[in-house]
Symmetry: C3
């Protein structure tokens, strides 16, 4: 199946470039303090996913893009969080993460997810608004991006003052020497441009692969695109759990779905205005069901302040069940 | 637009009288200790909303009344709580509210909301019970009122023993001298009677205003009636947040939607038996969706025990999104 | 009504045998340490409910079995928990239960319930998977049983190391002398075999009783079968609350619905392969609504870490409302 082989290679290239963008951002951010790193990561960390989403929209693959948005959230808070719990729990027993930061991020994630799913829910049940899903999606997108912009100053300040950051910065420094500034900027530019090109290639390879594998667009977006777009950046969270930094692992893992809801999804809705395809925030009902059930369950896990490998296994099991439901999808 | 002008004046008069009833109750309650104040406020604080609801039912405006019930809950836990977080957060940074009281009120709010929405959910999905919505609504109403009556002794005792009350009572005393008993009783009676008359006028002005403005009954109930009925009493919660009494602010703000669910909604259902219009607890689906999403999100915020202005902004944004969805409603 | 009388006698016999199985398991487990008791109870404690479910499936009473599964969860976390709160609260005032164990069990219960309801939700809203409800139910059942098996080592270790168990073991020892081994084994075998025979009788008496009483299959399963199958084992939780062991009462009461979701429901799905009747995890929508609303509400109560009799009354009220909705069902 040459279509599948081409797709796998393209997926690998996307994952590698996503990782390279992330590394360049870290190096660049280091120059301006840890606060700037956080802000840069928030703004640029989702760049590869944004490229994939944009090219998929141009190709008219709305179902793939919508499933990938929800899939990014689910793969982070079910699969990655579950793996972090299993890895951390098997090595260190029950782990505790009591930082206010994880709980505050979770509260924002709950609120952002609520805003994200309201246009869908209005569409399903609220007949009078049903004809206005495009307007409502645009309004919600602008509001979510505004909340993201408002969150930047706090993110800047919080990260720089955070004891977590102080504790992990030396560890990070041990692992890798600082790159020269020109190298970081050049690499970031090169990686971003390459990510754009490769994303286009990845999307072009996606449709033949879907046909060759006989899977649905929803499954391709929810599982394959979502994992390829987040793969390497997610390894960080699992590594932190393995090193028993449960607090920091949780903060990193929860941050990612929050950015999907606050930045990636609304940005794609606005970018879709530039394409012939209209992307609204009216998702397929099963995507909304899956993300609502998952976010509530994960919020209780974060508020519990404890994790063990059994909870991790159950999260992974939940991910498997949802993926299975979309297999026929 | 004279219709709109008349409506705005009537709305202002309702808000003023609602505030006057609240002040009279406080003064009267003072005579009998802080416990009695709480009980009196519980029983009489919703009097103006009850009048508006009753006259609106007599005018056959069921959609307005149902939207106003849910709108009262939403405007309290999204708009007022959001404003309290923003005002408190901008002035004092991150605020903490760890009192058991806020969490206990929230748990009761979650339970009461669950009971309140069950008749709607049964109606949507449970075919056999669908023909019995009136009976089920009456049973739920009687049960909710019974829970309210059972809560009175605890409210009486808890308030009087509460360190919060002790801490704020002097502050309240500083601001205003105690009125003579005859004045408090006379004012309460006069304000209540006036509130009844003005509510009738407000409801009469409502329909022409809805036509003149071209808005839906649902939007009028959810946003305009809900805010007019709660306006001034809500200022208290925001003021407390501004004075950095986050714990007490939270308790006051959560108390209000709890009373809507435990007293106002069931009382209106029972009162509707006296009118030609039947009010059931089967709300429009979007109202149920909005209140369920909101109550779960807010419960996590209260359990987090912390607030900042970003969370506040997000709550206000969520309110704006819900109001927008009903704009076409 | 001889049909009803026969049914009541059979129900009483089931409840007694369920209690006898539980006692024999405790005695037997004592030989091998408290950890083994927990594991044995997990495996055998639901034996009578399993027999009832199996014979009801053989009789083709799918609606009864599905309602009884959800009813077992609801009666535990609404009725039994509510009674424990009322009894404990009236005798001891506000009770606190801060153990990590209750919260950890609750998190697992939320996750297991999420998995349990996903096939139903997929069936309602996700057209492509709708034809595969049997396959999806089997997959979810196998996954849930796998999570249960994975939980056994932790349960074994946790129980033996738990200060709760240490604190209550002497209390239990005071009440009853240890039975000889041969007696415990014989009684367990005899009680299990009798439970199987009596369950068959109970199910045979069920259908004429439903006809004689004129109630629906859903109500019979949700309320009557669920309470008969759990009756005596639940008394333990309420007794613990009465003795002010709120922490341990909570852990015992939350454990029961967790086992229903992790063991009883999936085991019945797999056992139904041996009968002519197919049991899937696609429940009637109102059952799913009731269990979702309830699990979220109860999770907040556990996370609050406090209970009083008013919360208990509200839980019982919620149970009454749900039962009423199914009365017409």
């Amino acid at each position: 199946m040459p279509a599948v082989a081409a797709f796998v290679v393209a997926g690998g290239a996307v994952a590698l470039l996503a990782s390279l963008v992330g590394r360049s951002v870290e190096q660049l951010g280091d120059r301006f303090g840890p606060g700037a790193t956080g802000v840069l990561q928030s703004a640029l960390g989702n760049l590869p996913e944004l490229f994939i989403g944009f090219f998929a929209l141009k190709a008219g693959l709305v179902a793939v893009v919508q499933a990938a948005i929800i899939g990014s959230i689910l793969s982070n808070i079910l699969l990655v969080l579950g793996l972090a719990f299993v890895v951390g729990g098997l090595k260190h027993g029950t782990q505790r993460f009591d930082s206010d930061r994880a709980r505050t991020s979770t509260v924002l994630m709950v609120l952002a997810t609520a805003a994200l799913v309201l246009p869908s829910l209005a569409q399903y049940v609220h007949a009078p608004a049903a004809g206005h899903e495009k307007a409502l999606s645009l309004i919600v997108s602008v509001i979510l991006l505004a909340v993201f912009v408002l969150s930047l100053p706090a993110a800047l300040k919080r990260t720089s003052a955070s004891p977590d950051a102080a504790a992990t910065a030396p560890a990070a420094a041990e692992e890798q020497a600082r790159w020269p500034l020109w190298l970081a900027v050049t690499l970031l530019t090169a990686a971003s441009v390459s990510a754009a090109l490769v994303s286009d290639w990845f999307v072009n390879a996606l449709e033949p692969a879907i046909d060759a594998l006989g899977i649905s667009q929803a499954f391709a977006g929810l599982v394959i695109v979502a994992i390829a777009g987040n793969a390497i950046e997610n390894v960080v969270g699992i590594q932190l759990a393995f090193r028993n930094k449960a607090d920091f692992a949780m903060a990193v893992i929860i941050q990612s779905p929050l950015q999907v809801a606050l930045v990636l999804a609304p940005a794609l809705v606005l970018l879709s205005l530039l394409t012939a395809t209209t992307l609204t925030l009216v998702f397929a009902p099963m995507l909304v069901v899956a993300v609502c059930v998952t976010v509530v369950a994960v919020a209780f896990i974060v508020f519990d302040g404890e994790s063990n490998w059994l909870e991790g296994s159950t999260l992974i099991a939940l991910y498997a069940i949802i993926a299975t439901a979309f297999w026929w999808g």
